[in-house]
């Protein structure tokens, strides 16, 4: 199983029945594949609808129904379409229970950098800044390191997406909760030790008595 699947499987367990959830483009989208059958999550797509469904079968694409990445999707029973002001009203107004987003860097204050690398990549923040500020729970789903370098830092060095908004970090080796006291290591993947995690994490982790093994629902 690759890192991305481990992360998606673990994040899926954070979502509760009835939750309104916005999944960022890329890896976070994969989370929807692993939501248990008895949990119904309502997916919001910030380009203007709720009750987003999976990608259509080939040949069944509707040009008018795409996700926030521009890819064809379907809508489920109960769906409704709306404009971008309403869509971001839903987001900013606290009506989204959880958002799952990727990241370039996260730090021990819950700061997030995810939208630009000065001089290299300036794609724009799109809806990410609103999502991170507005969603009740912000879950960062990302690989623990990038080219061997830590992404979980004492302090973000890249331009921020938002200040002090991240609630949970899920990587292929651990689950970290962002608290006022700092980053608390809640779970480690099977075969991974607390020390292993700290070694590839720049920020100092708070280690509680009981660090669980990451449950990826297998």
């Amino acid at each position: 199983m690759d890192s991305r699947e481990i992360i998606a499987r673990r994040v899926a367990k954070e979502l509760n029945d009835g939750d309104i959830v916005n999944l960022g483009i890329g890896m976070p989208t994969k989370v929807s594949d692993f939501i248990p059958d008895d949990v119904e999550v309502i997916l919001q797509s910030e380009n203007g609808f709720v009750y987003m469904g999976p990608a259509p079968q080939e040949g069944q694409e509707d040009d008018n129904i795409v996700n926030a990445g521009g890819l064809p999707v379907t809508v489920k029973t109960g769906a409704s379409f709306f404009d971008s002001a309403v869509s971001f009203g839903i987001i900013r107004g606290g009506h989204v229970d959880a958002t799952v987003l990727g990241a370039l860097q996260v730090d021990e204050k819950g700061n997030l950098a995810s939208w630009m690398i000065p001089g290299k990549m300036v794609p724009g923040m799109g809806g990410a800044m609103d999502l991170v500020v507005g969603a009740k729970k912000v879950i960062i789903a990302m690989e623990h390191t990038a080219k061997g370098r830590p992404k979980i830092l004492k302090e973000c060095t890249l331009p921020l997406t938002a200040v002090n908004e991240v609630d949970l970090i899920v990587t292929e080796i651990c689950v970290i909760e962002v608290t006022k006291e700092g980053l608390v290591l809640k779970e480690v993947a099977e075969g991974v030790t607390v020390e292993d995690v700290q070694e590839v994490t720049e920020a100092a982790l708070i280690i509680p008595e009981n660090v669980k093994t990451m449950d990826i629902g297998l």
Binding site: V122, G127, M129
Partner: protein, 217 residues
Amino acid sequence: MSKIVTLEKALENVKDGMTVMIPGFMGVGTPETLVDGLIEKGVKDLFVICSDTARPERGIGKLIVDNRVKKLIASHIGTNKVTGEKMNAGEIDVTLVPQGTLAEKIRAGGAGLGGVLTPTGIGTVVEEGKQRIEVDGKQFLLELPLKADVALIRGSKVDKAGNVWYEGATRNFNPMMATAADIVIVEAEEIVEIGEIDPNNVVTPGIFVDYIVKGEK
């Protein structure tokens, strides 16, 4: 006087240097016929306000590639590499705005508001040059309204009074932009008789629409 006009007639209203709002999310909801018409006509030095610059071969992306845009406000340019290249080369002056903030700025422009306070962007580069206002102990940025000379919008069904109905995710920035420009031109995927859109289901009232152009789809 009928609002239905030819593409050429409608685009007489778009001149070099104007501020133009163009809706669309990755091209979905963008009036492709109107955009192609702008390129055909040769309008240049535009100040374009949009959510994203789509891909190089689609929607607003075509205006970027064809050097028609001098200034740009958008929330995302990552799917069209040409935008970033021209930005880095100093050929396009790009301002990036969070997507929800952009929606509110345009809505404010159309609704006569002097601005809105949003928590989005606090503590980031988005805050630069903006007033921070505290309300009930919480910090907000004052975001100012946006208006345009022309809005080029796209309706799935448009009746002859200019009432517009949108299908699926094509709606996105269309309704706000229709309220925030001096001249509003709508590209109709389908033109219908008045009454075919139930007055309860009209999204953009016809009073906002000046010209209707049949789209080629």
